[in-house]
Symmetry: D2
Subunit: 304 residues, 4 copies
């Protein structure tokens, strides 16, 4: 069975009607999304790619952007980054303040909000124009010069993002934020608003399946060790409070976002992105999880 | 033994040399205070008053101001206020965020920072010019038109007050803050910067020892029930993590501030204020606690 | 209005029909109690006493017993006791394990279960036959030789008291329990099972209203300083998660139990006990709280 | 480079002198171990095996035993097991009670102590003689009939295991323990005392690298889905507070114990066990971690 057949099978078998969750509603812009949307895209090591459904439609990638900013911060700081943020699973819902209180402002990992905000601080501190450079980075690794922030989403998040603003101020009080609060959260809300398609995401994440190199040009974007670190982090911390379940069901390193996107990679083999905006109670795409589980079952490839 | 003799005895017996704590240093302005400062003032129900030392010198009243703003908020909202803030001891250090996470943004009491910031929100929401009205309130109950904010202290707190800004944003995310964050913390940092003397404070707190009425004019400032509520709160929650110890040692309702001031009242009898900027490890004036313990012992009056 | 008139007024005004809570059900023996029970007893400094309703009927005093064991432990250890248990309000529900984890096994105060179990450890360690000596102590201060443990209640608590057994083991792991677990919990479950009436309790607690002396013989049972300490603790920590509310509503030091009893004292004046087994959601007698509030209002005596 | 060469390289390069941690001391029996001990054993899918050092010497496998009891419990209950214990990383030190308090007695995963004790409860509930059956299971999958409990270690753990006894009682209070406390902890302390060598462990864990079948006889011990679940759990939760770091450094599913043993598997390829009793501050074997990192680097096989 080839990849396209497998994708067609998944598309036939599954529908938004089978899942009961809700679309994210914490900002008005996300709540407007049509719950019927469903798309998937696979990008292979041999440059072939396969897709179905709404795979070319842009959506808000939200927390998936944390993988891009982590990659940029590791290019700047290497392993020194781990003085500012830890690499262990969180064990608490993704927005908890409690752990910081007992761990001196060092977030548990770069994928919980606290950790991603420390990463934002690093980029704001070290880059001249972090918003521009993030765009350039993402456009470069996808080869798509049209990728952009969704200004409406960014503004909407900023208007209601009190918890994230609280986090930055709190970590600053604990000594682990250098810059002013305003540019950090401005950058953070912009990165979350990045609008990309499954096709874009699967192509972008090929650098993590291809030891840090662009597939087309073999250009080295990240060191192999950086890729190994990021993949290990996606394996253990990529799915909020559901990392263990995803590790079992899908068995691949990956990252989800509340916009309903999930990307996962199989080192050396492929990168796969799926999108359905209906979320389960842990905040991950319900249909997306099922589709990826089915995908690894049908391809017969599993880490474990 | 009359009150002046008792105060003289305390002044003779005690000295800043006997205590080993440190002056508050979290903002530069407070760290500059001379640790030798020591003053005390008693104001009696029969309008007599007694004092020693630096009792007429202004200092930063800090958290003592929370009693004034609570009184103002209760005049506006009465017992409805308790939908927004609870009346129970905290059990955690005064700046903890943890409890809010499990209690839906309702602070444990109006004297922990979280509670005082909700009170600020109420005053900013309901008053045209809260900073002006607070000044007028304090000037009115002391009869001293010169009481003012210390702008340098207020600015200093604002520049480093990330934890309090975090608190307001966090409580706003949990739905218990109505106004914008900026005017709330601006008001809060101003109230903490109020510069008053022991003489001022003991006169101001006479309304809590005199069933809500000004001693001079018998003007009714607060309802007796409001006074009873505030006094009960000062008894159980007035001393950060040391409320139980103060209740035993001194046995009076009172309130402390990190500027080194403490005020306590004996209903119907007197109001007493003491100031020494050296703090014990719980953040209360070390010499002030001792002086008040000695005072209640020598006067032979104790609640228990 | 004399005390008997006041009690009659309360008895007329109030009824179990006015309250909606439930009788404690965590052990079968307590769940069997008739919810109509309602009694009150006042014992005065001039040896007069007054009562109504079921004031002579025995009930399970439960946590009220913690005041007796604390008194016994303070007679043995004096202020050294505070190396083993703190004197501050808890801020958490009465059975929390969390705080111990961050505070090295030192319970917040002797009235939360963790603290009472450390007190049990001390008595089991220092007394030859702690159960017998507790009975003798209580019989002596009440003058009632018939007071006894309710073996059925004690057995029932032991059969289901996993949380308390967990607490003792946990504190032992943290180094703050000396004896074996079994005799400690056996003693603890027995002390909670003490069966006493409002009349007994009000007489027993007169030692806290009478500076540590028996009213009848003037025999000194406790030092005045010990009494002051215990009264301060009852004021700030006597009512689980409702200490602040009780301090405001009633304004007296007191202690409640899940059997529906409450005792409170007015130093030098009186001791008052009330019983109604219907509990509010904080675990205190709903009718008992109201009766005591009414009593302090009608007598016109309030701390604040 | 073949496996024996790789092991020899590791043996040459590394020594107990390079690491500064301490041998476990919480029970006297473990503290007696010679810190020079160092052994490693690899068992391959083609039945070849390789070793160095003290690979045939028995040591206390401690928490590694949790993988065996989990396998037994999954054979009895299948996926229904997850009603009793979750599959997510803990984020807290391995002995925390806090999380249970907010999650209704459902431990975060079967490898933290709370989870392993719930597994013990299941085995004690469903098996006639759980200690005997565990021995038989381990002897069967290793083919070594001499494997046994170390009674001295078991007794030593029981004498000081107050925290684990507290956990069982606490979970029982929360409703997630069925049996009596005594047989559960007796079984638990015995399983931790199992004495096995690196050779034994690497052979036993081949069932997880061989889709649930014994290598010698092809006998089916576990369902492939059970193996996948256990491997995923070892990947995300096998190393206390250091699961993320191990996932990055070694990139294999594995489990460690405070006796200084670590086992890891590479599905379809091999199972590897290493032992050095010197622990890092997270409680994992310091030299063992390094040896495994080096092993996966030299073999060139890594999940990510």
């Amino acid at each position: 069975m080839d990849y396209q057949q497998i994708l067609d099978t998944i598309h036939d078998e599954m529908s938004y009607r089978d899942v009961k969750g809700k679309v994210a509603s914490y900002i008005p812009e996300l709540a407007k999304i049509d719950r019927k949307k469903f798309g998937m895209h696979v990008y292979c090591g041999d440059k072939q790619h396969f897709c179905f459904g709404d795979s070319k439609e842009n959506f808000s990638i939200q927390s998936i952007s944390k993988v891009f900013t982590l990659a940029m911060a590791m290019r700047l700081m290497g392993e020194d980054l781990w003085d500012r943020v830890d690499v262990e699973p969180s064990g608490d819902p993704f927005n908890s303040l409690t752990q910081l209180e007992y761990e001196s402002g060092i977030p548990r990992n770069p994928f919980i909000n606290a950790g991603a905000l420390v990463i934002s601080d690093i980029l704001v501190d070290q880059l001249d124009d972090p918003k521009k450079e993030l765009l350039e980075f993402v456009r470069h690794i996808t080869g798509d010069p049209d990728i952009d922030y969704d200004k409406t989403v960014a503004a909407s998040e900023k208007a209601t993002g009190y918890r994230n603003i609280a986090l930055v101020n709190y970590i600053k009080a604990l000594g682990n934020i250098k810059c002013d609060v305003e540019p950090i959260v401005d950058f953070y809300f912009h990165q979350c608003s990045l609008a990309m398609s499954c096709e874009d995401l699967s192509k972008a994440f090929m650098i993590f399946a291809n030891r840090g190199r662009l597939l087309d040009t073999d250009e080295k974007i990240l060191k192999p060790k950086t890729v190994k670190r990021i993949n290990a982090l996606m394996q253990t911390c990529g799915f909020y409070d559901e990392a263990g379940e995803f590790s079992f069901q899908v068995g691949l390193p990956g990252k989800s976002g509340v916009g309903g996107g999930i990307v996962a990679i199989h080192p050396k083999n492929y990168s796969v992105a799926v999108w359905s905006p209906i979320l389960n109670e842990k905040g991950n795409s319900e249909l997306g999880m099922k589709a990826l589980e089915r995908f690894t079952t049908l391809t017969g490839v599993s880490v474990f």
